[in-house]
Symmetry: D4
């Protein structure tokens, strides 16, 4: 709400088109609406197909049931991340149409067709088989957010020819998410091959001096390929969310 | 494919058993030149106005003179980063048309007009006055790479109303680079306000438990705003390069 | 006991008003009583309603039963912190009037009405739902220590408008405890909004580079809001104890 | 501005007591003024005697001259922290009435008598002679902020009887700032002796495994005395600011 | 070389302007097959007796069954590392001829006689009894890779005479793998005794400030014996692989 | 064996008093016996009452049974450290005369009366109740090694008067072992009170920024009391062993 | 002062043998004198030849001159540690009889003959030439404290035979201080060779992953030789002080 | 000296071929000579052309002059590492025939022709221009030790095609030393390309989260290419020494 709109509002008040009570009510929204920042929340409700996201890890089964039931009523899509153990069975029983991905540990409840809102393709590349769970979380999140997604699996730098053979696929993507544990070198190689945005996701794969992903994280932060950005360890969800920020139209 | 097989392939070509087109197709698979990966370098030479980048820090004055002289002859633009001390005076004497930015520690030699190749605006936001040098490096780099750049200075989270008053500027940017030291909280606030890509740059500003930027780095990696990505400490250059990857057309 | 009182004591000894044995007995207390430091212990017994505090975590069920039985006989209030597992059921059976809070993991045995001894209100603010357990420990501890307590839940910096809407509540508190995990940015924002004491509690909420609360701890130690103080990770009890030091009359 | 006031404002608009333009102007202030958070800034200007604070470390002499000249014109008191080197001489020449403290590295420009606004005494205790600079920064800051301040020097835990002899002084303070390097044990001892707020300041004093203050910082965060709070390493200014938050009336 | 140039090259071949040999030579330069880098994979299939290696840790029983069944059909030897729990029983049932080593946590399926391809002996030395599992992994891996292997157990530096008594055995080895936890001092002593390659393997043996092998790792990286190299913590497999690189003929 | 003895040995060989084979046999012992370093082992067997020590943690029940049975036959005393779980029951069944201490996690098999070989008393001081297990390990080890041992429990620095009241006991000890977790401040206070050797043992007691004992370890290494030495985290055994080195006669 | 003495004092007061004022005066000393802890200070003044110790590093030349002049007047010996730069020349001019050791960075002012008060010999062993400064600080401190001291230089573990050749010297010492940087392995070897107390001093010698002495420190804390104790990095003074605690008579 | 030789020695003593004194003398050497470990030292003196190595960094100019003069007299070759500043000029004046390499910071004094004793070629590969100093140290050390050395410069993973184009050179080397800073990814790529030993040298090149080489070090320790070994940060000398251990004949 800019000055013009505010003037118009006050004018209609003076003109008696709206009551003082209505005016108070509308103006009380100001701190939120006028900041020019809170639109996202409204957009969400308006743009069909965008999922509600629930972090499953830190919530009890009871809490999840309440939250999901309430959300499901609104008719939108729902993505639960980091869900495992017995909570999965219970929730799948209650929501039989929901799909659980055992690698990604995600539960997707699709009540609407996902509308593709991305400009191009999000490519999720993954260094080794142990990195697949994090890569899958990225793939599913990016899809739920309305992106065209492709996967490229097991192309670690110790067998560089396997990666190089997929040069076309790398070149065609709009955003590339690179998931790697151990020394986390893959984003450097890919960052040197393409001019598109590269989001690096360190994984906690490895042992000893891998320090639960610190080695990969540091490797990626120090990438010799310019302009590689990094998210938190094992944060496939965050990488997909960042890719969505980049890939969305407008 | 070994020499023998290659010989056989060429023989069958000479023998007319396969067409030249088929031969080209098969040989194109030889994964390298055909990987479509080395083009970037060529593109660089072709696309005028894109700068050569030289890291000034680890090079001697002699080395810099040789490199810059050679580069300057090719007629393109040159960006030297992390340049300071007596090397500045010497190089400014030799290249009087070059511009040195004392905050950013960059030297820009413009021999061609920079062509704006970005889709929208790169906004560089900076938490406190001490973060300005890193922010300036990002601003200058992004400009040299062909982007429209805006700056928003000294809007740290301890005076949150100053930031909120600039909601419009935040909403209009295509990519936002957020530079902050100390606790590195600014990207979280901004990431919650906008839907556009947010690249966080931790700075080494602070003392004691700031640990030369580690506090800010960890804060940004753990941002509670989804989809914030991070670059290395004080890496204004890298953030701008990442922003350019996002902002470039096509 | 200062020089004057000591003179008076010796005088009454010389005057025969007290025996040498009594004198010895009183003077043997000196190293403790005269230090002017040990009064707290006596105050505790005198001031009714102040709880005994037991750290439940490192004690066996047997030890806890013995300690609590002994304490309960003295008629005061008792607060057991960090209590969980099967110890809860056993103790709740033995002390059916005790109240267990499953979030805070505290057991409160109230044998007397808590007397409000604080000057004003302790406000406990909490960034995200996962921080609630630590916040609850602070709330319950502060109440047991005789403070008026209010709670403000789920006002993280990624949705800054929710916090700003509660400006009044922030302004009216006498002490504010701010509980936050991940990047720990909330105390900086609140510290910039109010002039009252702000005690920051980092939580171990998060994963990867959150390093079990180190990211939040460092963030808070480096807060750009001046005069924010910090306690140990997940130390809701300590924060409430510090708030009580600040809020107590006198 | 609450609902009642807003209603009154709109009523006076409808009543024609204020023009639409005036209404727009007043309502445009809302995001700042109505948040109930930005008053501090205004209070500052109103309450005479409260100093402007400038961090000297990261500013050039030129910047400092401009800032101080501008501030000095407003007639209030000014505190420059972390100032040293040749900047001291230059500024002392320009502001001959300013006082520089070589230990604290502070420059104080007093243009008004400091009004004591604190409820009681801030006591700054210091473990060893090497901790004095940080303690002095706390002392001077607390004084400039309007507090009665006392100092207690060189009472480290390896000579515990020196500390115990000062029990009275400890008991009488309203807030105690404890400055210590090396193992940082002093706040634990003092926290066990008094019921008042204790703010611990780790210093970077020590060598080897002191790790520039980390040992003291960790010691203080893990204090076995309940309710000790901690600020950043060497942050005497921050400790005084926190003490001022606690000590201020109202 | 792009499609056009390739077409031209083939045309000139068809036209007889260049000979087939010349064509082969030029095409061999197409950097890939000609990189001389992918041969390893082929060699593997050709050289009988070289094992396939499977990391057992991160794979499910189902995955392992599929992989091992497929590999076993090819008739070569198979080494599964880091295998334990119930997966062992299941796999031993399915492959009754496989041998499981409970210390090394390796499963070896020998379908061919191992051909000794090493130049000399790989000696695996082990500091204490707790280091044996890692040493055994090295021993078994080195044997499976075709090396003559000897073991020397429990010769830690706190009983230096036991080590010195085995000087002959140390001198005769071609490569020495030294496995040690705690302070990791053994490689320094051995590195000073022999002129042969010494590969140090830190183990996670120890507690407290051993930090899961960091103490040993740092000790080995800082060895005062020149030319000691180090692998990751607990990486017996990697050390044996490195020894094999050194020991292989050719 | 010095030159004189060696001359005598060779003389007796030349004189035919011993055969060449005997000479070879005796001289082959040289590297061990003549180093003047390996006597400890022999002393052990000679000095009755000195225990064999077995680290229980990393050994299986089978291994422990074999080792203890063999050792028990030699008739000496045996100390098993870090023993817990079901291994305790099994071993106590097999060695019914052995005593298990549930706090210290030690198993003592006394087959001979312990001979007191220490010069004076080893005093084990312990900061809080949670530090008792480590203190008990030190107490039992020191006793098994032949020292007079006293204990002083729960005298942490937050209640300093309790410690000061025990000044006599501190002054009379020959060696003091101080066991403390959290901030590890107790050794500094005691080191300032006495002139005797003080061995500090950090414990892993605490949470959050205690980092499993690192805070206490750093605190102790940086003790402001001169001449305090430190052992590894939770290493009650090592502290007692060091105390025994100091306290032994000769 | 125990109960008996206190009774006697009060009796003499009642008997009129001492005045009330005298009684007050004597009893006011109680908190210090009666703690049974402060004797050290008095002993110091009484026992001639024990040096005053001044840490030179953190004091200005002015401060040092004042302190040393005051101390020198009392006629005892003075040891200044960590003294260098221009302060050395100035102090040597003022105290021409003082001896400065450039390696140890110590200044010794001997005004009395040092009385040997130690029971036996303190042996200072040093791994490499770069560790000599720290070793020298230990040697000089131990001598100033009244101990017989021997040195053993450059016997690192990478040339183990040089150490073993000095077995006799190791066996004869009463306390051994072992100074080592890099991997810090020497104390483990020596601790395994002797039954006497071994104090390990890590030095900051090394580069890269030596991390300024952390590698050596961790190595020593994890020594596989039982009963090795450790002091802070580069703390030769502290090691000597600890050795003096052990070596002093009675 | 084995049993056979010992028997022969004693026999010749009994036979009167050598005197008892001679026997004593020879047997006194035993601890050194008979350990079968100390031969290296003797070999050194025997094998001409092997250099003496002096670490220049921690030695004063005076010390270096004395050491080098003494060594030079023996007529062998001398390698001084980590030498810089004014020491270079002074030593080059004194030893005008010595060659100083400003990148490697090495001084080589060749008094004999270096005899090539290596089996094959040591290839030193270097990721970026900033890594050259460390690579040069490795090159010069390896040459001085008698190896054929080749260099491959500036083939970082962000431009992977440059590396792949040099496949032949990689394949032909006997040992490959890979020097890289930043993320340290190059050894993983090369380790996947070749079957020869790969020694990784992390450099301190980089800033921020490079942490002086820790990022590269961790990356290399976690290399996904099996059998890559690692030396300390910036330790070009150590890598060359390790390569020499591998490459030497015999």
């Amino acid at each position: 709400m800019n000055s013009k709109e505010l003037t118009r509002l006050l004018q209609s008040l003076v003109d008696g088109q709206i009551s003082i009570d209505d005016g108070v009510e509308r103006l009380k929204q100001l701190p939120f609406e006028d900041l020019g920042v809170a639109q996202i929340d409204h957009h969400r409700e308006l743009r069909q197909g965008v999922p509600e996201v629930v972090l499953g890890e830190s919530k009890s089964l009871e809490q999840l049931k309440i939250i999901l039931t309430a959300m499901a009523k609104q008719g939108g899509n729902i993505l639960v991340t980091r869900l495992d153990g017995e909570k999965v069975t219970a929730l799948c029983n209650q929501f039989p149409e929901a799909e659980y991905d055992v690698d990604a540990r995600t539960l997707c409840l699709l009540q609407q067709k996902i509308e593709i809102t991305g400009r191009g393709t999000v490519l999720v590349v993954c260094a080794g088989p142990s990195d697949i769970p994090v890569a899958r979380e990225a793939v599913i999140t990016a899809r739920m957010l309305g992106n065209q997604v492709e996967e490229l699996i097991d192309v670690g730098v110790a067998g560089i020819h396997r990666l190089l053979a997929r040069g076309d696929q790398l070149q065609k993507a709009t955003v590339i998410i690179v998931v790697a544990g151990m020394e986390g070198a893959l984003p450097s190689v890919i960052g040197g091959l393409v001019a598109t945005p590269v989001i690096a996701v360190p994984t906690s794969v490895g042992y000893g001096a891998a320090f639960g992903g610190i080695a990969a994280l540091l490797g990626m932060l120090n990438s010799c390929a310019s302009g590689v950005t990094v998210v938190n360890i094992d944060n496939g969800f965050g990488a997909a969310f960042a890719a969505n920020r980049i890939n969305r139209k407008g």
